[in-house]
């Protein structure tokens, strides 16, 4: 098989993995090729509107496992291919020189054994870093069950590593990925977390110590393949952030690729709105210091589809509002629907120089359409209706767009 065909097959198998951001590390070129920008650079956008920043491919789509939700599971009859480590390295360098990509995201099916596959992933990095002196971004998948020593030496060359847990609970894992268990997935996560912490303290004493996974680790959960609630997903996310200090948890709306008794029908469309709401909830955890059970709870274990999770929270907690813009603390400002991190900071800064009027707020990036029911500005309330949960809920409910009739 030629490179072109291999690339087609191995890009296909990798595209359902969404964790492809290249952000989180700033690196200069030190006498080779490449650098990294911490804000991440998108190089193009595919027809589904997703940003392409890394060459995202599989080393191989052969797999000895049989995870139900995966195109590459061994019982599927699909074209199979494997790259050699050198092919992947050459492709990366040539794409990179032409500025098609920001770096490499290498994932893989498990060919022969976890160690065999992990070793080959290491070889790709070895060629890129030591032979081509590549300083660009590299994200690799850790193969669960691989020898910790292999994981360690790969981690010294990668920017980011990830182990996808895919399912938020042990039960759904048992049902859908019978060869995987949470402890097996957590072991390398724990190892990476441990070594990152240790590495950081060693680097304080010895400057020359090589960085270990400088952009941290991430994981992905598939949404909608199992029956798990948003509560389980958000709880699992919170635990992952607290326990392993993950940089990111990604959510991927399940695209049905296989048939099976435990899977949604092939005709099910991917739950994109749910995925979107989960990302919003994730932001609340990471940047707005919300706790998981403030966002969802046992009584309502799914996120509201009509409202973003911050509005939902505010509507359930109307007793805390309205807040006075000129007095609220930074943390309080962040909890107002329509106020983001940037506008909250602007408010705090400008407030030191004088009172902020209602007119100023819009120019600072506050979305007044939402915020006006939750604030007072210099003592005045601009909502127009009483700040009561039911009324505000009604005022904020998006009007259903009139459906365009189809003529053909």
């Amino acid at each position: 098989m030629g490179t072109l065909e291999k690339l087609a097959v191995l890009a296909d198998g990798a595209k359902y993995d969404v964790s492809c951001a290249s952000s989180g590390v700033n690196k200069h070129n030190q006498g080779g090729i490449g650098n990294s920008k911490s804000f991440g650079i998108c190089h193009t956008w595919s027809a589904d509107g997703r940003c392409v920043s890394l060459l995202k491919i599989l080393l191989t789509n052969y797999c000895i496992y049989n995870c139900n939700y995966c195109v590459n599971r061994n019982q599927n009859d699909i074209p199979r291919a494997s790259f050699t480590p050198r092919e992947v390295a050459d492709l990366t360098i040539q794409f990179y020189r032409r500025n098609y990509i920001e770096g490499l995201f290498l994932s893989s099916g498990i060919e022969r054994s976890p160690n065999h596959t992990m070793e080959r992933i290491y070889q790709v990095l070895d060629i890129l870093r030591h032979e081509y002196h590549f300083y660009g971004y590299i994200h690799v998948k850790v193969i669960p069950g691989a020898d910790p020593a292999l994981v360690n030496k790969t981690g010294l060359l990668a920017d980011r590593m990830s182990i996808n847990i895919e399912q938020p609970t042990e039960q759904s894992l048992k049902l859908l990925a019978p060869q995987k268990t949470l402890p097996v997935l957590f072991a390398p996560m724990n190892q990476i977390h441990h070594q990152m912490t240790q590495n950081a303290s060693e680097r304080k004493i010895f400057r020359h110590v090589q960085k270990f996974v400088p952009a941290g680790q991430s994981t992905q959960m598939i949404v909608g393949a199992s029956k798990d609630s948003d509560l389980s997903i958000i709880k699992a996310t919170e635990t992952l952030y607290n326990r392993f200090q993950l940089k990111r948890v990604y959510y991927s709306a399940y695209v049905p690729v296989n048939e099976g008794p435990n899977l949604p029908a092939l005709s099910t469309s991917p739950p994109l709105l749910r995925e979107h709401r989960l990302y919003q909830a994730d932001w609340l955890l990471r940047f707005y210091s919300f706790k998981a059970d403030e966002i969802v709870n046992e009584q309502s274990p799914f996120l509201d589809t009509d409202f973003d999770p911050k509005i939902s929270w505010a509507l359930r907690n109307m007793q805390l509002f309205p807040l006075e813009i000129n007095q609220a603390s930074y943390e309080e400002l962040l909890r107002i629907p329509g106020v983001g991190v940037t506008s909250a900071q602007r408010i705090i800064r400008q407030r030191r120089l004088g009172n902020i009027s209602y007119n100023h707020l819009k120019k600072m990036g506050v979305v007044l359409k939402r915020a006006k029911y939750f604030i007072t500005c210099q003592g005045c309330y601009y909502g127009g209706i009483p700040a009561e949960s039911a009324l505000v809920r009604q005022a904020l409910t998006p009007v259903a767009k009139p459906v365009q009739l189809c003529l053909f």
């Binding site: 990798a14 193009t44 509107g49 997703r50 392409v52 040539q94 695209v255 400008q350």
Partner: protein, 247 residues
């Protein structure tokens, strides 16, 4: 009095110098596109690097580096009123000092912030949307940006592609960044490179186009979103759109 300058950043700063120490400028305009009118007298300002440096330092010391950067970005924008936005902003800046950085919503400040943001957004966008072709002896890239962002790309690519010769060509303004493995300079003319149809180059272009079409997920197709991120006007310089006929 209207001041007419040569279009350079030094020229603009020199005009601001004269506006402070000689006669107050009513407006500042590039000489090349100035519409003369009977009622406003005008004078041509000779760009002077020493006077410009004085204004530059004064902004840095009395206002802030941040403000300095902001007006430079505005200067690079295609906003037809940019010189006067900068003039008014600096007048306020010299009164307020660094405080000006915190009054985002002020009428003299907001347009500067908004324009600078557009420029930096486009520059960041082209860090990704630039495509090089390997001509065999050097890498060559063409772009036609809305704002004059070429210079904002130079350091990034000089660092990234250290050890390579490359040219980045702004076809719209006929400017080019030329880098000889280490150092780069801005040249105000450039020919379009004669690109040989080398087999290797074709091969990688094809691989990239193939990859590009393969990674999109059919059930998630969203062309509108794609158009939002990659506007039509940029597409003819992008291999993956040209080759996959998604122009």
């Amino acid at each position: 009095m209207d001041y007419l300058y040569d279009g350079s950043f030094d020229g603009l700063l020199t005009s601001i110098y004269y506006s402070y120490y000689e006669q107050k400028a009513h407006g500042i305009y590039p000489e090349a596109s100035y519409q003369f009118n009977m009622f406003t007298p005008s004078t041509v300002i000779q760009s002077d690097p020493v006077l410009a440096a004085r204004v530059y330092d004064a902004i840095d010391r009395k206002i802030s580096v941040y403000s300095l950067m902001q007006i430079y970005y505005v200067y690079l924008s295609n906003n037809p009123a940019k010189e006067n936005l900068i003039l008014k902003y600096l007048q306020l800046g010299f009164q307020l000092g660094p405080k000006i950085d915190s009054i985002h919503s002020h009428p003299e400040v907001l347009p500067i912030r908004q324009t600078a943001k557009k420029v930096s957004f486009e520059a960041e966008r082209f860090l990704g949307l630039l495509r090089f072709t390997d001509t065999g002896s050097y890498l060559y890239a063409v772009l036609e940006p809305d704002h004059n962002i070429l210079i904002l790309l130079a350091d990034h690519f000089a660092d990234r592609l250290a050890g390579e010769r490359f040219i980045i060509h702004d076809k719209k303004r006929n400017l080019a960044i030329i880098c000889n493995k280490k150092e780069w300079y801005l040249s105000d003319s450039s020919e379009e490179a004669a690109i040989p149809d080398s087999e290797t180059e074709q091969f990688y272009q094809e691989l990239w186009a193939k990859y590009f079409t393969r990674i999109s997920i059919e059930n998630r197709k969203n062309k509108k979103l794609q158009s939002h991120f990659v506007p039509q006007r940029y597409r003819h310089n992008l291999v993956e759109f040209r080759k996959s006929e998604l122009l």
